[in-house]
């Protein structure tokens, strides 16, 4: 009996009219958890009932607490007939089970009905009293933290990264049970929602148990998916990376005497610099290596393995890469071998974690679904995934890697055929982070920190663990072989025994190690990577017709098509990459969806020019029949177009790499003479450009042979990718290579399109063109919609394709548009062409962009709250006074006056004139309380009671700092209608539903005390319609991390940012942002 759940129903509002006669409602509420139900009194004749119930108490196992959702049903009391349900609220209480997350859930939740949508709101408070259970055989895993984000959460540091955790649970799908024939659609939908909620809870608990077994305390990169297998059942599966995370008490927390989290925190680590990127941005200074060398002795002693001493000697060997590589492999092997699958769902890593990235590994398998006979032992599904993972593992081995990072799994189901896919990036990792045993790490941590306190004169006291270990590894030899900005590009595999044909050259950065000519990965661009120019979104699109078939024959047909699709997608990607003058892909996702009569493939990635990799050759067209003059003319025309496109793209993405002479590439170690030449070339860069443009014609160009009409088409289609409109960039990764100076204005959106392919286009070619147009049009639409945010970048733009029916293709995307400061980006580029850093995080520089942004009225930002401009007549004097007040006051003031450029300018001036550093008052509450305070206090000064919640698919929000993770949001909704036309047709129906999903996510986050959702994704959007019957149904599954954000400026006690963001220039066609 280790838990007591307490629920209080306070009030309702905006309820629908349930009694036509009186135009009112007699509402009451049922609160159900597990098998216990409580009811409130009936509040008669009101659309805004005040129940003010007692605290309903449920005494439950913590196992149930994890699995079961709290179910709240609002009903209309009817004396004579059955009570009518108004709607329901499901509350996942998991965030309350972890001491570091939320402590209370309290707020207005939309009352949701699967037929009518949102029908008013209900105010609920939920608390949990947990009793400690030390039972070793317990089935629960309360306290394990879950994070959707695929990088180490910002206010934590990873002490150990344990590795892959996976689990799946199966059940019968209620929609396909016999009872579904006699029950209402509502009952069936609710049964499904409840079941999936239950299964997610169970899954999370089981994964938590595995994490505890591994000695971890958190799951990062948690990805949970549903497979709606129809007749054969419902599979909920999840993968993630188990970690041991340690909370970082950040600078502001260090100033606060009382620590925010309640007792359970194991131990507070000594004050360190906020991880976010702060430590990274300071990294490139040479002082590190210096202090690192002083560390050598103490560190090698502290590590009780041979490996490190081995590494040390390797370091002295210097350039002897081969030897070192073997050693590295051995040690990594030992660290990873205990693991069945050395996979990591993370896509960005602590500095020094990733040593080499080998390339993308992927595996697909086509399966025929059969009914799951025993839900308790889902062996077949497990076996399927096991098989795929083994394959991935062996692929990685072939690349000389022992780990796979950026790992993900997906399925595509059509009738009884299912394609299982897995992909990741083969990698060699630094074994230090993979070490088991917390104690070791703690001692290691302490030891590594010690010397820094001795090092006099250096202000490195605030470095975090990773930096330290990075330093230590650097002097241990790793650093010598793999400089941070290029190390990960170096090939991990044996040069003489390459797994695939690749053109190797010496690294353009360090000139010691070999690098491939192109690099494809599924991870984000490492923060330390040196990049030339900006990145861009690259998509490869492909459709393949397939004969309709059944069972085995169908599966065989699909399996036969798959390799060809993979090959073609790969070729397209390669061509498009070259066309943009780039040499590496990050965040590669290849999705192949199966339909009745076709397969659709979509590959998205972010292309960049890695400075370490050689410049890409151009694309050369070669004809097969050179005799014909007209034909040759045609070919040379195409060639010219291609060359033009390449040079235009180079301009667009600012790719102007330093020209490197042939000899340099040829020689393993650059001679001093060449080095000086290199330096010189920097100043002569303007001359180099023209040379460059010529180069892609001759230097190992990529030859495309035109042998038939198809090839011509293909090549032409290459050129049809519409150029980006000026001011826009896009990428599908977390970070946009080459852009750092984000303003705080963001706009997250979800877009869905369904296309019907009319029977005309029955050829592969026609189909391809259709699909290509579809994607291009969707992109064009996005650019048009978001035009008011220019200059901006659409980040995390990942398309999800599905083939819901014959002839239908559905494309969905959830992404975020973020504006940036253009002028400054160029400045930064100039001053910092070397390793790009997330400079905006640097304290000193932070103030500079903000001043700039407050200066220019064109900067569009979002007012932080819903004030209705009550203070509009405030005099300048007031403002000057207020701006010097504490940050909390200021923000609440700033919240209230918005859209006032004059005021803002004035304030900006005030701040520039002086009093920039206002120290936050020492008696300020803990960050949590502060967050709550802010949220709770806002309504009092304005009319609205709705908290503004920002959402983003990224793991950060520019200009803001995450001070607390409140838990995972994982919600599943079904919406159905039998009056499709009346609801505005399919588009109207889905538009409303998506808006409702956003609203419910925001409400849940606000109730947890948060003000933002990060790493938000829409994992599933299954849409079915039957226009003839006027019906439609849609299932949506979303997830993300609820967090409390504060503006970075506030945290420093300088409310500079606040006025920038209260400024919203009303422009025509303005797209306000959140």
């Amino acid at each position: 009996m280790p838990g007591k759940l307490k629920v209080k129903i306070c009030a309702g509002r905006h309820l629908p009219v349930m009694d036509r006669a009186s135009d009112l409602t007699d509402a009451f509420v049922e609160v159900k958890f597990s098998n216990t139900t409580f009811k409130t009194e009936v509040y008669p004749k009101s659309l805004n009932p005040q129940w003010n119930s007692e605290w309903f108490k449920f005494e439950v196992d913590d196992e149930d607490l994890q699995d079961e959702p709290l179910q709240i049903t609002v009903l209309d009391h009817d004396t004579y007939s059955a009570n009518d349900a108004i709607g329901k609220v499901y509350i996942d209480i998991d965030p309350l089970l972890c001491s570091e997350a939320a402590t209370v859930i309290c707020g207005w939740f939309p009352i949701y009905d699967t037929i009518h949508g949102i029908r008013g709101e209900i105010n609920v408070s939920v608390k949990v009293d947990l009793f400690n259970d030390l039972n070793r055989f317990r089935q629960s895993s309360c306290g394990v933290k879950f994070f959707c984000s695929t990088s180490i959460p910002k206010c934590y540091k990873a002490v150990v990264v344990h590795g892959f955790v996976e689990e799946l649970v199966v059940n019968e799908d209620p929609e396909y049970q016999w009872i579904d024939r006699i029950r209402t659609p509502r009952a069936s939908n609710e049964a499904r929602q409840r079941l999936i909620s239950l299964m997610s809870g169970e899954l999370q608990r089981k994964i938590g148990l595995k994490v505890l077994e591994m000695g971890g305390n958190a799951v990062v990169g948690y990805l949970q998916c549903f497979d709606l297998e129809g007749e054969s059942g419902l599979v909920v599966r999840a993968i993630g990376t188990a970690c041991t995370l340690d909370k970082i008490s950040n600078t502001s927390a260090a100033q606060l005497p009382a620590c925010n989290s309640p007792s359970k925190e194991i131990k507070e680590s000594p004050p360190v610099h906020p991880t976010s990127h702060g430590c990274r941005s300071t990294h490139n200074s040479p002082i590190h290596t210096a202090s690192g060398s002083r560390l050598t002795q103490s560190f090698s002693v502290s590590v009780p393995t041979l490996i490190y001493t081995g590494m040390g000697s390797g370091g002295s060997a210097g350039k002897d890469g081969g030897h070192l590589k073997t050693l590295l492999r051995q040690q990594t092997q030992s660290a990873l071998e205990q693991r069945e699958f050395p996979f990591f769902t993370l896509t960005s890593f602590p500095l020094g974690f990733l040593i080499h990235a080998g390339g993308v590994v992927s595996a697909r398998s086509v399966k025929l679904l059969d009914r799951i006979h025993n839900p308790d032992e889902p062996e077949t599904r497990d076996a399927w995934w096991e098989e795929i993972r083994q394959e991935i593992k062996s692929h990685a081995k072939a690349l000389g890697c022992h780990a796979v990072v950026g790992y993900s799994e997906s399925t595509s189901i059509c009738e009884e055929v299912c394609i299982l896919s897995a992909s990741g990036t083969a990698a060699v990792l630094n074994p230090k982070f993979l070490q088991d045993g917390c104690l070791d790490c703690y001692s290691e941590n302490r030891l590594s920190r010690q010397p820094t306190f001795f090092s006099t004169g250096s202000e490195k006291g605030e470095f975090d663990f990773f930096l330290q270990s990075k330093d230590s590894s650097s002097m241990l030899g790793l650093e010598d072989t793999s400089p941070p900005s290029c190390g990960f590009c170096h090939i991990p595999y044996d040069e003489l025994n390459m797994p695939f044909p690749a053109h190797l050259t010496y690294c353009c950065n360090c000139r010691r190690q070999k690098v491939p000519d192109v690099l494809f990965t599924t991870i984000d661009l490492p923060i330390e990577a040196a990049v030339t120019g900006k990145g861009c979104l690259i998509q490869a699109r492909l459709c393949r017709l397939k004969k309709k078939a059944q069972g085995e024959a169908n599966a065989t047909a699909i399996s036969n098509l798959l390799p060809f699709m993979e090959y073609e997608l790969h070729t397209q990607l390669m061509n498009k990459l070259k066309l943009r003058g780039m040499n590496a892909l990050f965040g590669l996702r290849i999705q192949i969806s199966v339909g009745e009569n076709m397969l659709v493939g979509l590959a998205s990635a972010t292309g960049v020019y890695l400075t370490a990799l050689p410049a890409p050759g151009g694309i050369q067209i070669a004809g097969k029949t050179p005799s014909d003059i007209a034909y040759e003319q045609h070919i040379s025309n195409i060639q010219k177009k291609i060359n033009d496109t390449i040079s235009r793209n180079k301009e667009l993405y600012e790719i102007h790499p330093l020209e490197i002479s042939e000899e340099v590439i040829g020689s393993p170690i650059p001679e001093p003479r060449q080095r000086s030449r290199l330096l010189r070339s920097h100043s002569e860069s303007s001359d180099e450009v023209s040379e460059l443009d010529l180069s892609h014609g001759k230097k190992d160009a990529f030859v495309l042979e035109i042998d038939d009409a198809d090839a011509v088409e293909d090549i032409l289609s290459l050129l049809t990718d519409a150029p980006l409109p000026t001011g826009f960039y896009s990428c599908n990764t977390e970070n946009m290579p080459g852009i750092h100076n984000w303003t705080s204005s963001i706009q997250m959106f979800t877009t869905v399109r369904v296309f019907r392919l009319n029977n005309v286009n029955v050829t592969n070619q026609g189909l391809n063109k259709c699909f290509n147009d579809l994607c291009e049009n969707l992109l064009k639409s996005l650019y048009f919609k978001l035009r008011s945010m220019i200059p901006c970048c659409i980040c995390h733009l990942n398309f999800t394709v599905a083939v819901p029916e014959d002839e239908l293709i559905q494309v969905a995307a959830t992404a975020v548009a973020m504006t940036f400061d253009k002028d400054q980006s160029q400045e930064i580029l100039k001053s910092n062409t070397a390793p790009m850093k997330a400079i905006s995080e640097n304290e000193e520089q932070l103030q500079f962009p903000m001043e700039l942004s407050s200066d220019s009225p064109s900067v569009q930002t979002f007012p932080p709250s819903k004030g209705t401009g009550l203070l509009e007549n405030a005099s300048p004097q007031t403002i000057q006074g207020t701006s010097r007040a504490t940050s909390v006051d200021y923000s609440s003031f700033a919240d209230r006056c918005n859209s006032w450029i004059e005021l803002i300018k004035l304030k900006a001036q005030t701040i520039r004139r002086g009093s920039i550093k206002t120290t936050p008052s020492l008696d300020k509450a803990s960050p949590l309380a502060e967050g709550h305070l802010r949220l709770r206090s806002t309504p009092s000064c304005t009319d609205s009671t709705v908290t503004v919640v920002k959402m983003t698919p990224l793991s950060f929000i520019p200009g803001a700092k995450i001070i607390k993770y409140l838990g995972i949001i994982n919600m599943f909704f079904i919406r159905e209608t039998t009056s499709l036309r009346e609801e505005g047709g399919v588009s109207g129906f889905l538009h409303t539903f998506i808006a409702e999903v956003f609203a419910m996510v925001r409400a849940h986050v606000a109730a947890l005390g948060g003000n933002a959702v990060i790493s938000y994704i829409m994992k599933e959007c299954v849409f079915m319609e039957n226009s003839n019957k006027n019906q439609a149904q849609c299932l949506i599954n979303v997830s993300g991390d609820a967090v409390i954000l504060i503006r970075e400026s506030e945290q420093e006690g300088v409310p500079i940012q606040t006025h920038g963001s209260t400024n919203q220039t009303p422009q025509s066609g303005g797209a306000p942002v959140s």
Binding site: H14, P110, L757, T868, G869, S987, H991, G1069, G1070, P1072
Partner: protein
């Protein structure tokens, strides 16, 4: 290939003000697309008609979903479905409740009933405003009317609190409600030259001076209905024209005061009795609801037209009315000073406002 479904939903609802205006103006999606195309937006952003159409559709859907909330602006502020920054909410409300001059002139003073609504297609044909837009504007008038009609407290404030409108718009609505309640005639041909602004100004004067609220500000309907007692008292003013001596005395006082000060002195002198009779008769008849309705027409016929016929300048009118009002004070045996002042200050400002071409 055809698009079956196409939606774009932002966490912060994206709303284009231009498209909003087109929607408010009652254009169909297709019309709106062609209007937008004419603005050169395609060339400006290098995009295509499909894109524009898809964008317009998205906006129209959003607006249709918001419309329900706009009917009760306080709901818009507390709703959860759309995340809209406050200043945008204000813009949405303000524009939704804005109305066309041409339309309001057609409907002003009419009963806001189903019958009037049925005639909106005529209004639409006459004004060139789409029927859809006419309906929205009419429904807005009616909705505001229903809500504030029975409310205590000042009319403008009530409108503002319940509909979160700007000062200016709230005052306009107060005028509309006031006119609809008393059903002032504004549509006659003779009144066509008057703008809504003229009427709104007059309404404001009437509300401030002649309603119950002008004397007691805590009664129901205080700003909507005219003060019955006051109207009754107005009958007493008749003495100014019925009593021959008093009329003559009044005339001589006015003439003395104005001699040499106005250009149309002779015309004034000749017409004084007619003008005075006109003004006093209007006052005396205001107890009849029917005559209240004709208030403006009477002002035009009895005062404004005769003066215009004699080419009075507005300064002449002002001087005359000032003198006319003040002279009554000096009349022996005239004991209704308070009523007189209350009546004349409104009449004077209304006439001056209405005295133009």
């Amino acid at each position: 290939m055809s698009v079956e479904l196409d939606v774009f939903v932002g966490n912060t609802t994206i709303m284009d003000e231009e498209v909003y205006q087109l929607w408010l103006d009652g254009y169909t999606v297709n019309d709106a697309v062609s209007i937008r195309m004419k603005s050169g937006i395609l060339e400006q952003f290098g995009t295509t008609e499909d894109v524009l159409e898809s964008d317009t559709m998205d906006h129209y859907r959003t607006f249709q979903m918001t419309e329900r909330l706009l009917h009760h602006p306080s709901k818009l502020v507390n709703q959860v479905l759309f995340q809209i920054p406050p200043h945008r909410q204000a813009m949405l409300i303000e524009r939704y409740y804005a109305f066309d001059e041409a339309f309001v002139r057609e409907v002003l003073g009419k009963k806001l009933s189903k019958g009037t609504k049925k005639d909106l297609d005529d209004v639409s044909a006459k004004t060139g405003i789409t029927l859809k837009s006419c309906r929205r504007q009419f429904d807005n008038f009616k909705r505001v009317f229903k809500v504030v009609e029975e409310m205590k407290g000042p009319l403008v404030e009530n409108v503002q609190c319940n509909f979160l409108l700007s000062d200016k718009l709230a005052r306009d609505y107060a005028a509309i409600v006031f006119f609809a309640n008393s059903r002032f005639e504004t549509g006659k041909k003779k009144l066509q030259y008057l703008t809504f602004e003229d009427f709104a100004f007059c309404a404001c004067q009437l509300i401030q001076n002649w309603t119950v609220g002008a004397v007691d500000n805590m009664v129901e309907d205080m700003d909507v209905d005219l003060d019955k007692e006051f109207l009754q008292d107005l009958k007493d003013l008749k003495i100014l024209i019925t009593d021959k001596d008093m009329l003559d005395q009044h005339k001589s006082l006015v003439c003395t005061g104005l001699r040499g000060k106005i250009q149309v002195f002779n015309e004034m002198e000749g017409n004084f009795k007619n003008l005075s009779r006109g003004l006093i008769n209007i006052a005396a008849k205001l107890t009849n609801t029917k005559d209240v309705r004709d208030f403006f027409i009477d002002l035009v016929e009895k005062v404004i037209e005769p003066c215009k016929a004699d080419r009075w300048l507005i300064s002449d009118v002002r001087a005359f009315l000032t003198q006319y009002t003040n002279s009554a004070r000096a009349l022996d045996g005239f004991k209704h000073q308070a009523v007189w002042e209350r009546y004349m200050c409104v009449i004077k400002s209304c006439i001056l406002k209405m005295y133009h071409d």
